[in-house]
Subunit: 248 residues, 2 copies
DNA sequence: GGCGGCCCGATTGTCGGACAATCGTATCAT
DNA sequence: ATGATACGATTGTCCGACAATCGGGCCGCC
């Protein structure tokens, strides 16, 4: 048996241009904040038409590698931010018809260790953000949109306090999906707000006391409570998660 | 105090076109596999120039929402696949100068529960893939590239057996980064291959026996062993993870 | 000397048209 | 039916053009 021939791949110019620029960014030859050369110059450097350059730029833009800052003209090199990447992953998961159960199950796995990490972390400033998130949730009152946002902010703050950027980024799409499911659930469950607030306070207290064990177990209870919430609201856990809205 | 005015945002046409098409895909009005209308028709429908449509298409293409299948001309609607999304996230993490420690720490958190899930899963077919991955790793011998690939394949197979697509997708970028770090490490640590193979066999045995507890603990040992490997290889855990290559 | 307003070149967003390569398909011959 | 051929449709790439506006320099004024 001979090794099969690889399919001979033709790449259109716009993609090769995009790949060439992306490679420079990855190699740090083009760095964060640096302005990109104007389209006409890129066109003459690559010896292609400006239209081709523009198509390549759209690709890079959509990857979050370049962006044009608000009210400015030249594009600048940038590193894809957490929000940008998370949005993509969230959309992808929603399109895969992922169920609420799968999202929730993942949260039960990821969040408790995150709380534990945060409890062990040394810096105080991270805790300040957690405290602010807890207060903001209680202050959100009957404003559904705000309450849901603040639930996410709480998890984000805890993750940030933990100091692991990989975990924080991994968590981000989960929060997007949780929030979009939560928007439907929270107003159907009268006691939801009180239970969330109570759990958040307990977790905060554990973090302040550097009690990793308590932080972990309470975070687990907190996440489990969401499952209870969906059940009480009559939402089948095996329905697919609602598509995350465009609000960012 | 009055509420501050929101920045008045102008969106260029190509982005609004892309958003309009993306919305239809998200709403399932355009479904997986369906061919997109030709560019000229899209141009006349949106009443914009074909160049504008093409820029929008590059954006959608880069999001994995449309693709042109090999050797064909029309573009078809598609759902962003795991590999596609994972690549993006992997690049983003690498650009954020994430450290090997952060990746490894995340693996210690994510993988053991994944093994536990796989052990509890009812279907046998998933196990077949795990068995194949274990065999393939041992068969890879001194071929570094293949060995590294098979390490990833093992984790992927376990995750698939667990049946949680969210976890599987979350794991994917981690594997990309682990692999790119592993490529440097594995040949510097003589006993690495043997230890990996041994751990994989133990985990496989536990999965076959439906022993969730053993699967979890051995998976934890397996992941911890990678850390040991980096230390033995003299690789500082706090260096940033090498950028994942273009191989897919 | 610092500050605000004005003007001009540079750059981007969008348009129109053009053409070669090639993919899909209908037609035709065997 | 099967295989070869021819034609229209579609994409990739190019060229040129123009309005809007951003950035920066220049100037006058306090």
């Amino acid at each position: 048996m001979s090794t099969p021939f690889p399919p001979l791949a033709y790449e259109p110019s716009y993609r090769r241009v995009a790949a060439a620029i992306a490679a420079r960014i990855h190699a740090r030859a083009l760095r964060d904040g640096e302005p990109l050369p104007p389209e006409t110059e890129l066109a003459s450097q690559f010896a292609v038409n400006r239209s081709t350059i523009r198509e390549a730029l759209r690709e890079l833009e959509s990857e979050g590698l370049v962006e044009r800052r608000r009210g400015t003209k030249r594009m600048v090199v940038t590193r894809p931010g957490a929000g940008h990447v998370a949005g993509r992953v969230g959309h992808a998961l929603a399109l895969q018809d992922v169920t609420i159960r799968e999202v929730w199950e993942t949260l039960t796995i990821v969040e408790p260790p995150l709380a534990e990490l945060a409890a062990r972390a040394r810096q105080a400033p991270g805790l300040e953000a957690v405290r602010a998130a807890v207060d903001a949730f209680e202050a959100s009152g009957a404003d559904t949109a705000r309450a849901v946002d603040e639930v996410g902010a709480f998890f984000r703050a805890v993750a940030s306090a933990g100091g692991n950027r990989v975990l924080r980024l991994a968590q981000e799409p989960l929060l997007l999906l949780l929030q979009s499911a939560l928007r439907v659930m929270i107003d159907r469950v009268p006691q939801a707000r009180a239970r969330i607030a109570s759990a958040q306070r307990r977790i905060l207290a554990a973090l302040e006391a550097r009690d990793a064990e308590t932080a972990r177990t309470w975070m687990l209870k907190h996440v489990r409570d969401f499952r209870r919430g969906f059940e009480v609201a009559g939402i089948d856990l095996d329905t697919r998660v609602p598509h995350p809205g465009e609000a960012q």
